[in-house]
Symmetry: C2
Subunit: 346 residues, 2 copies
């Protein structure tokens, strides 16, 4: 029985036995038991074998968040569905100021998926969880017939611990707040889209997929409490700004020239008629901070990402409105995308 070497660890189910996922791998019998024991538990060593994981939590408040990932293709420059599934959920916890701690992982596998592909994804998740300092504690596997999935879908649900008493939500945003963007934008959506459509981009755009709790913790450690934090995923920066302006009942005004967009991303957007502010990111966020805190906040965030920048301010204005001062000096309404832009980027 030959074993194919994958990445730095051998695939533990001999690929000559089961090169592809079969329906029986999801039916609760011996084949499923073997898939779980020899593949999942070999990598996710902190998963507790019974149906529920028993976890220690401090008294007080925890944060819970869930996300299913259906990104297509499964692998793209800068990441894959596995690293995305870990970082996406970790970041949703981080955005309310919670320390990401535990993750559950649930797979919906399509019959015929190459075991080797599953193995690569599992290893990627393990690595991402390690970097983000979260523990994968429980899981589930289902198999659907060929033609009823797209290789694999992953759900991750996360639990984080709130180690402070602050309420970091859009409703806390106040007129006079400063708006800071933690990095450059548009890379994730364009990287996935380019890989999917087979565009050969000379500029090698990579997804920004990364965990974001470290910069949030740095802000909190400095005694600085952001009023709101939000990662700019589906719908991009424009959507986040609109949602927060609506929730806070305030107006947000940003300046286009302060928003970093990589040359390559800008080029692709210009050719295809996309607005980079509508493109999804997976490794940058927007922080709303009190005016007196913004210099320190920017200073801290720049230690984590040199491209962090002050992009705007909050005013009474018209509740729910977002305006943008364009690079040529005009001011326009910045709306969220109305319909379909780039589907399945997460």
């Amino acid at each position: 029985m030959s074993k194919v070497k994958i990445s730095n660890m051998e695939c533990p189910i001999p690929l000559d036995d089961y090169k592809y996922v079969m329906m029986a791998h999801g039916s609760g019998g011996r084949m499923m038991g073997r898939l779980i024991d020899e593949m999942f538990l070999a990598v996710f060593t902190d998963v507790q074998p019974q149906d529920s994981a028993i976890l220690n939590v401090p008294q007080g408040k925890i944060a819970m968040t869930t996300d299913s990932f259906v990104v297509r293709p499964l692998f793209f420059p800068g990441g894959d569905i596995g690293s995305l599934a870990v970082n996406g959920t970790v970041n949703d916890l981080a955005m309310c100021g919670a320390r990401p701690q535990y993750l559950s992982v649930s797979f919906i596998l399509e019959e015929g998926l190459a075991m080797e592909t599953l193995w690569r994804v599992i290893q990627s998740m393990h690595k991402a969880a390690d970097v983000a300092n979260v523990t994968i504690v429980t899981g589930d596997t289902k198999v659907v017939e060929r033609g009823h999935g797209d290789g694999l879908y992953i759900n991750t649900t996360g639990i984080g611990v709130l180690e402070h008493g602050h309420n970091i939500t859009p409703e806390q945003v106040k007129a006079g707040d400063m708006v800071i963007l933690s990095g450059d934008i548009g890379r994730h959506g364009i990287a996935v889209m380019a890989e999917r459509e087979g565009l050969s981009l000379r500029c090698n755009i990579e997804s920004d997929c990364a965990p974001l709790f470290a910069p949030v913790q740095a802000l909190l450690d400095a005694g600085l409490v952001p009023h709101a934090l939000r990662d700019a995923t589906r719908g991009g920066v424009a959507t986040v700004l609109n949602e927060i302006a609506t929730a806070a009942g305030l107006q947000i005004n940003v300046s286009e020239s302060t928003i970093h967009v990589e040359e390559g991303v800008r080029g692709v957007c210009e050719i295809l008629g996309f607005d980079p502010l509508h493109i999804a990111n997976e490794g940058c966020f927007i922080a709303f901070v009190a005016a007196e805190d913004h210099v320190l906040a920017l200073d801290i965030l720049r230690k984590h990402n040199k491209k962090a920048s002050l992009i705007g301010t909050v005013s009474e204005g018209k509740p729910g409105r977002v305006t943008i001062e364009t690079s040529i000096g005009g001011v326009r309404i910045l709306d969220m995308p109305a319909g379909e832009l780039l589907p399945r980027i997460c």
Copy 2:
């Protein structure tokens, strides 16, 4: 704009507008916002609008479990994918003795799914959560292209609170323990299969889909600590017994005549060559209790389900072996199903 009446509450997105789920309902823009606000949040009123829910937990231990549901068809006698998704996760928590408290819900919708179908499922989840006394606190929605899903898949992840210090796991099972089955078996798997294959069964077999914390709590309230509990879902009673015999390193001996199987279920199994012990259930469980506790335990469980019965005992014997005394008096090995039996029953 006419509104179609569904169940007891009108579908809040006028069906003339969007009769079917479109890709844009998953893209993070205005259409997705409307789907979430007007459908999901209209029913799941305890969902917190930000990406993570903030939850109160007592100091100590919590249980976490996750399950994705891909049952086909979406509606079947006795339940649907929505009630199943709630009860399946609630029961995984109950089986470690944790009080089910919070649920996350994540949908993977297939483009073209009828909004009316989604609305029925959402309402069913709401009702099931109400009966099981759990709160749906956070959610997520993704949309995949037509031909890459099967209507809808649902992930639920649950958090339960351990209000006692007992360790209820297969490793606690001891030689001499009694094995109690909480109800009759085989109805869920056969009901789903019959609906899917269009078998017209005169006997109207209904899924046993139901929440199981109440009987577990009754045992604990009586001061009775089961050594292990396990709901007999995928792979049926046979799989649970084999897994526990292996985990405990003991032999389990059961008697076929003590296991309740409805006439209709038995008939379908005989015709199709299935063993009812391999068929999935969604509303019954197996309890391993100390010999001195079994009379009281059975008494309590019968108050919840008259068909609860003592089905066997645990012995040193051969570790991992399960034997069954057949109704005609012989004894055979009871194995778990090797491969595919009835796929997609949960």
